[in-house]
Symmetry: C2
DNA sequence: CCGGGTTACTGTATCGGTACAGAAGGACGC
DNA sequence: GCGTCCTTCTGTACCGATACAGTAACCCGG
């Protein structure tokens, strides 16, 4: 045996990472062949492949490093979902979880992972800018367009969900306006003339809110408001509007009332008066639930004294008492459509930039009449 | 001006990606300086940095490419959560969403993104093996140890949640046994002698199930069973056990009964007999809910004729009628603890391998008595 | 025995950054 | 006037793969 020249080969430090090269040297083939053994089995003979895999196993080689592969291939195998500032919300709200669940399910067969992007930057890390991604879903988050901006600038394929459709960007929406119109028409048909609407902030005193309305989170609120007024105006009804602020009032500065508490107080005031509304149209089932409870506290019977209509057909709607009349939207369908649109967009981007006109999907809504609405009290 | 030699510089194809080098050339500094401008501001003068940033902006440079950075830095800014085969479940079950929400919230300030890993491999992509990650949470998924195996082999920092604690791997658990014992003791104290237990599959006819029991998803079931028998045996009570299979029986092969339907039938049978149990201890609040409904269908009053105890203190427990007596576990605390443990592990791995003995956290449980339990009927 | 088509591997050039060890030019103390 | 310490930049060497264009050997009909 000839004495090995010192350090002829790259020195092996205490713990050297095992890479393709390590395996290649061991087996005596080129690194490329090892790569092929793992990633393109059809490029080498079965025998050699087996040998290589065995050697890799022996050396404790796990497989191509995901980060390196992502760089070389230009693909990372993860798609992002950009959500509201409050991650907690995303997991609390049954509508949001339903959507996410459907996205996850639709994505499963593609083998892609779902990455949840906190929209707010923490420290100087901005997930939307710094996490390797193949594409992203933008889910009702207009208030923090910064992250959306990053996604766009990265040139990632994105799909808007519950946002204002923009030409050039595929979008998935629900027929919010039509649904709201149906809700309003329903109570009009039941003979109600004094109608209240409980929704989220739309007041345009803050320019930031205006921008948000136009471009994001409040798009849905806006559309539903339009739908309600469509029907109410036709019937010559001017609704009483109660707004729940989206932005908590200076949250940090001590014990302020939470927005829903403020709204609840206003609802209570509205329902306590002599000319109280006999029907309430709500932005969501959750809000409707609160309205029903408030009414109960005031001794009002739902639906005899007060009709209440929600929106979404949250599971909550059918399990509460009285079961809530509401507008159903297919959240799972929305998730599936969004995921499909995104994978399509990614595919398109990969194979020659075929930016066929971005599709805008609008899912239907449907009035579901349950036990929280009745004819207007005769009085 | 001297004529530029043709193609002296790398040729610029139609659309060349803008990289650090592009910006560096434009400004006339080294690529490294541009990198520093973005990633280590303290390494250059404020003036130059401003110049560089401006040039970058003008060129449409978004910032360091995440994939490249991940490779060079060895960190990707995303942490994974490995979950049960059914992603849908993760978003449906309020206990799971509570956990995930807490994890997300705990992680937010670190600026890390949360990547959901489908445990089942799709095509030949195995998320647990192929997605760039800095660490991972393994959340009650013993049935598919393959993915867990990949995570381990990659040498990623991982934390076990609701799995059998293993030395060397940090874990977060709940005092399932103690909780179950308290639940059982509660009904014993109320004078019940005929007690049923409704839980998930533990029968050891299938070796795969045995393995799962020992190492994963069924650990929790096992512990709770031990807890119940602790108290029941002491009181000389032999419980009637109804098991709900975890693995749907050959799901693909046509219209088979779903496991919970099978279980419901068995529960019904048990409750219909003359020597029916007067108390039922359930693995989860969801199962308890079903038991209560089944009892109602049989005309039994809860809690007068039958006491029912759940587990978890799912929000469902307090909102159902009658409100459910249950064992509370702090799901959010579990999520926070898991996230904290993982970030700690990642930190430890980064700075010199300090593999201090992995900590095993066990969170307490607490009996919450509500309206679904009462003294045993005198008969 | 030769042209043409496979099959099985290999070499080289990236992918787009970051780490770390300099090097150049002042400022400063004595 | 000179050594020292900063502050600012720069050069080089990876990080760990993949793409693509070869090249060599082999097969086969004519």
């Amino acid at each position: 045996m000839t004495p090995r020249p010192r350090s002829a080969l790259p020195r092996v430090d205490a713990v050297t990472r095992v890479t393709l090269q390590t395996v290649a040297d061991k087996v005596g083939v080129s690194r490329m062949t090892v790569s092929n053994a793992f990633s393109r089995p059809d490029q080498l003979s079965a025998d050699l492949r087996a040998t290589i895999l065995a050697a890799a196993e022996r050396l404790g080689y796990v497989g191509p490093d995901p980060a390196a592969r992502a760089l070389a291939r230009g693909t990372s195998g993860a798609i992002g979902v950009l959500m509201t500032d409050s991650l907690a919300f995303a997991f609390t709200d049954e509508v949001a979880t339903g959507f996410l669940g459907a996205v996850a399910e639709e994505l499963a067969p593609t083998g892609m992972a779902l990455t949840l992007l906190a929209s707010s930057a923490a420290g100087d890390r901005v997930p939307a800018r710094d996490v390797p991604l193949d594409g992203a879903l933008v889910y009702s988050c207009g208030l923090d367009s910064a992250s959306v901006e990053w996604l766009k600038r990265r040139g990632l394929p994105i799909v808007f969900v519950d946002q204002v459709p923009v030409t050039g960007i595929p979008s998935v929406n629900v027929d919010d306006r039509g649904g709201a119109r149906a809700a309003a028409q329903h109570v009009v048909d039941l003979g109600h003339r004094r109608v209240a609407v409980v929704t989220r902030e739309l007041e345009a005193d803050d320019p930031a809110i205006v921008a948000a309305t136009l471009s994001g989170e409040l798009h849905v609120s806006h559309q539903r408001m339009l739908g309600w007024t469509d029907a109410l105006e036709t019937a010559g009804i001017e609704p009483l509007v109660v707004r729940e602020s989206v932005r908590p009032p200076d949250w940090a500065s001590g014990a302020v009332e939470r927005p829903e508490q403020v709204a609840a107080r206003e609802v209570r005031a509205a329902l306590a008066g002599p000319d109280r509304p006999t029907a309430v149209l709500c932005f969501s089932d959750v809000m409707a639930y609160r309205v029903v409870r408030t009414a109960e506290e005031l001794g009002l019977q739902v639906p005899d004294d007060l009709s209440v209509v929600g929106f979404d057909d949250n599971p909550l709607a059918s399990r509460m008492t009285p079961a809530l009349t509401t507008i159903r939207q297919d959240v799972r369908g929305k998730g599936a459509a969004a995921a499909a649109a995104l994978t399509a967009a990614i595919e398109a981007a990969k194979s020659g930039r075929t930016v066929e006109r971005a599709r805008h999907v609008v899912l239907p809504t449907e009035l579901v009449v349950r036990d929280s609405t009745a004819r207007a009290p005769s009085s």
